[in-house]
């Protein structure tokens, strides 16, 4: 529903007086606990964050803990001040706008459901406070629903008289099992006047809405009426499959159900941007997988910009349209999951994305004319694919010592390969993970099972890889992928 632009966003946590004193004491000693930049002003949690999030995009911020991803999200939500830079939501500068006026919703890791309210009240709460954008189509839908409800009420009045609540209560509590007698009063029943009145009013409203739609208007902003709120909550609850829990309090729900309610409370008012702060990390593994698919399904149903924070790279890969990999407050790489997986821009991204993580070993990149070769110390030599050679040529890379990276699924058995001894062989079901001791390195290899499990442990295998799947990372910091030398996201930051 909205575009979010972050321009040079910086977050600095200023020192408290105590911390400053400590720092004065600690000066001289070279112990550095974090890699976060420490400047005169304070600890920099987020550094020069530049990103444009497209309308309706699902963006995932991923990184190890303490990398600034949650801080970034909280800045977008308005829960943290932005130290420097500009934040635009839907074209409006939002640096100094209150969270409630940003038209965002957020799902918290701890769910943050109001414990004293029922699920229904929890989901209704945001609707009761602020004015909402109400599309005319939605209002027509609601009025039709309301008319159905009214028709049912009318039928009730026309049908046979029901026993009063008091008799029902008495029979339920004191005379269990006995049949409730039909009421003796048999005067003809009348339908109360308010039903007809409301139906009339609803018809008029529907006509007004249709007129407005004809005139090309789409929505209006107003506070929702009680009935409309009820309809909206019921509809959202149905979408999330929590209709049966509406009368319960959060205490009586399981983790997964609470998570659904939290998501329901966030999406019930159709926010421009939906922020999710590690929403699945409090769930157990099985539920997490389920909820992940639920979120993917949900995403297809509602058109909202999603910003999702996680430290789990599997969630990042499966959910995101685009992934932002962060570390120590810096963006490491932005790209589609495929891009990030196939072409990691530096050694950190290569090891962070993908399980089991990429194998790294010392090697050499050798140039012979227009061809490049990856060479291992043992003499194993592979020609790089044409695509890679072109990129390396464009960057004018000369022969040099590098760290070579190959993903476990790309390592294969080869007759002339590097010999190694299998130390551990893990059966994972469809495939087997082998830990192979090659020289000093522990190399992980994924071998497909093809229906039978072979126990490799203790055996000597010869390993090799394809020239299309090997990455060369520079030895000096920041350890970039040599193919993408000039596409540097943080050049500016490093110069400072």
């Amino acid at each position: 529903m909205a575009e979010v632009i972050l321009k040079d966003i910086v977050k600095i946590y200023p020192y408290s007086e105590k911390a400053e004193k400590k720092k004065a004491k600690a000066q001289g000693s070279e112990v550095k606990k974090t890699n976060l930049q420490i400047t005169k002003k304070g600890v920099v949690a987020v550094q020069n964050f530049n990103l444009t999030i497209a309308d309706g995009e699902f963006l995932v911020l991923v990184g190890p803990s303490g990398c600034g991803k949650s801080t970034t999200l909280r800045m977008i939500a308005g829960l943290e001040d932005i130290s420097e830079g500009e934040l635009y939501i839907n074209g409006n500068l939002c640096n100094a706008v209150e969270p409630k006026d940003r038209d965002i919703a957020m799902v918290f890791q701890s769910y943050a459901l109001y414990p004293h309210m029922t699920v229904f009240k929890n989901m209704e709460y945001p609707l009761t406070i602020l004015k909402q954008r109400i599309p005319y189509e939605f209002e027509i839908e609601y009025l039709n629903w309301r008319n159905d409800v009214l028709a049912k009420t009318r039928e009730k009045y026309l049908g046979p008289r029901e026993p009063s609540r008091l008799t029902k209560f008495i029979y339920r509590t004191f005379k269990k099992g006995k049949e409730i007698p039909a009421p003796k009063n048999d005067k003809p029943r009348t339908v109360p006047a308010w039903i007809a009145k409301e139906e009339e009013a609803n018809a008029a409203k529907i006509a007004a809405c249709q007129e407005a739609i004809k005139n090309g208007e789409k929505e209006y902003v107003a506070k929702m009426s009680k009935g409309m709120r009820e309809y909206k909550v019921l509809k959202t609850a149905e979408m999330l499959g929590i209709t049966e829990y509406l009368k319960r309090k959060p205490k009586a729900l399981s983790g997964g159900q609470r998570q659904r309610v939290a998501i329901g409370r966030a999406i019930v008012r159709n926010p421009n941007v939906l922020l999710m702060d590690e929403p699945l990390s409090n769930l157990d593994a099985k539920l997490r997988n389920e909820m992940r698919t639920e979120i993917i399904k949900l995403r297809k149903k509602i058109s909202t910009t999603f910003i999702y924070v996680t430290h789990d790279q599997v969630e990042a890969m499966t959910l995101g349209d685009r992934i932002v990999v962060m570390r120590d407050g810096f963006i490491q790489q932005i790209g589609t999951p495929q891009e990030v997986f196939d072409n990691p821009r530096n050694i950190f991204v290569s090891s962070f994305i993908g399980t089991p993580k990429m194998n790294h070993f010392d090697g050499r990149l050798e140039r012979e004319g227009n061809k490049y070769y990856a060479v291992l110390p043992s003499g194993y030599k592979v020609e790089l694919s044409e695509e890679k050679c072109e990129r390396l040529l464009a960057n004018n890379i000369e022969s040099q010592d590098v760290t070579l990276g190959v993903r476990p699924e790309h390592i294969r058995f080869e007759e002339n390969g590097v010999p190694g001894i299998v130390t551990v062989s893990e059966l994972m079901g469809g495939s087997t993970h082998l830990h192979v001791q090659v020289g000093e390195h522990d190399v992980i290899v994924i071998v497909p099972n093809n229906g039978k499990h072979l126990d490799y442990s203790g055996k000597t295998v010869r390993l090799g890889f394809d020239g299309a799947c090997v990455h060369a990372f520079a030895l000096e910091r920041p350890r970039k992928n040599l193919e993408f030398f000039y596409e540097d996201y943080h050049k500016k930051a490093e110069e400072e």
Partner: protein
């Protein structure tokens, strides 16, 4: 066979030891319960004397102490409610109730409000303010009352019930309790969620935070109600006219009458009437009191 008999002997030994241990346990329990019952008796003895004495006539009270109830209960009741010349007990009860009820409400609400501010907001001087409020707690009421009475005379607010009510907004000890309770029970995520859901800061407090603090509010409400109900010191300094006096002040007036004038049965009766509402409140709300006192400390 020998083996079998040996094991059986062992078993018997075990059983004997077991039963001895059980006996020790039972004895211990009896001792503990005896001690507790003794304590309860001491506590109830005071009330018993009060009730018994309120059923006695003036003459009986001046006689030998018997410890048995007498038959003058309704006489005393009548004389307590309608006889005293200088004070009107019913008016006093009403005054006390007004002061105590408003005090309870203001104390709990504003203490919760300030505790919430200290807990949920980060602002400069937060620690200083927090310490300052606690420092006020160290000053005894007798010391601060001096200034308070002077202030009351200067603004001409003596002999006014609201002068007893308004200062109760500042209640450091209640504030401290509320702060501890909030620290244990209120995750700040809730506040942030409410903010994002669109509520203003006051709405967040009234609709999300206050309902969560219900047990704490109940406990502190009852405590401050009782404290205000029993308060003699400040009201006796402040209240002059008879129709403004609260119950404890009236009781003091009655008790300080000359010996020949005073009706001891009547005074006992007034005392009995004065503690009655509090006993009722305690009996009705004891569940919440226990819940509130423990929940703040255990949850964490």
């Amino acid at each position: 066979m020998e083996n079998v008999t040996k094991t059986m002997e062992k078993k018997d030994n075990g059983n004997a030891r077991n039963s001895r241990a059980k006996l020790a346990l039972i004895l211990e329990k009896i001792l503990v319960y005896a001690f507790l019952i003794f304590n309860v008796l001491i506590c109830f003895f005071v009330f018993y004397i009060l009730i018994v004495n309120s059923t006695m006539s003036k003459a009986e009270l001046q006689g030998v102490f018997t410890g048995l109830p007498s038959t003058h209960f309704f006489e005393n009741l009548e004389s307590a409610l309608f006889k005293p010349e200088t004070v009107n007990i019913l008016q006093g009860t009403l005054n006390s109730f007004i002061v105590a009820a408003f005090t309870a409400i203001l104390t709990t609400y504003f203490s919760a409000l300030s505790a919430y501010a200290i807990h949920a907001y980060r602002f400069k001087g937060r620690k200083f303010i927090s310490c300052f409020i606690l420092a006020i707690m160290m000053i005894p009421a007798q010391v601060s009352s001096l200034g308070f009475i002077r202030l009351a005379y200067q603004i001409g607010a003596t002999d006014q019930l609201w002068m007893l009510i308004v200062p109760s907004i500042a209640a450091p000890s209640v504030y401290f309790y509320m702060l501890q309770y909030l620290k244990a029970t209120l995750p700040l995520d809730l506040v942030e969620a409410s903010r994002i859901d669109g509520s203003s800061e006051f709405m967040t407090f009234n609709r999300v935070v206050l309902p969560l603090m219900k047990p704490a509010l109940a406990v502190q409400g009852i405590f401050s109600f009782v404290a205000s109900w029993n308060n003699l010191y400040i009201p006796s300094l402040l209240l002059k006219s008879d129709d403004k006096k609260t119950l404890p002040v009236m009781l003091a007036t009655l008790a300080s009458q000359s010996f020949s004038k005073a009706d001891a049965g009547q005074i006992w009766m007034v005392t009995f009437l004065a503690i009655l509402p509090i006993v009722v409140v305690y009996l009705l709300l004891s569940k919440y009191i226990i819940k509130g006192v423990t929940s703040g400390s255990v949850k964490g």
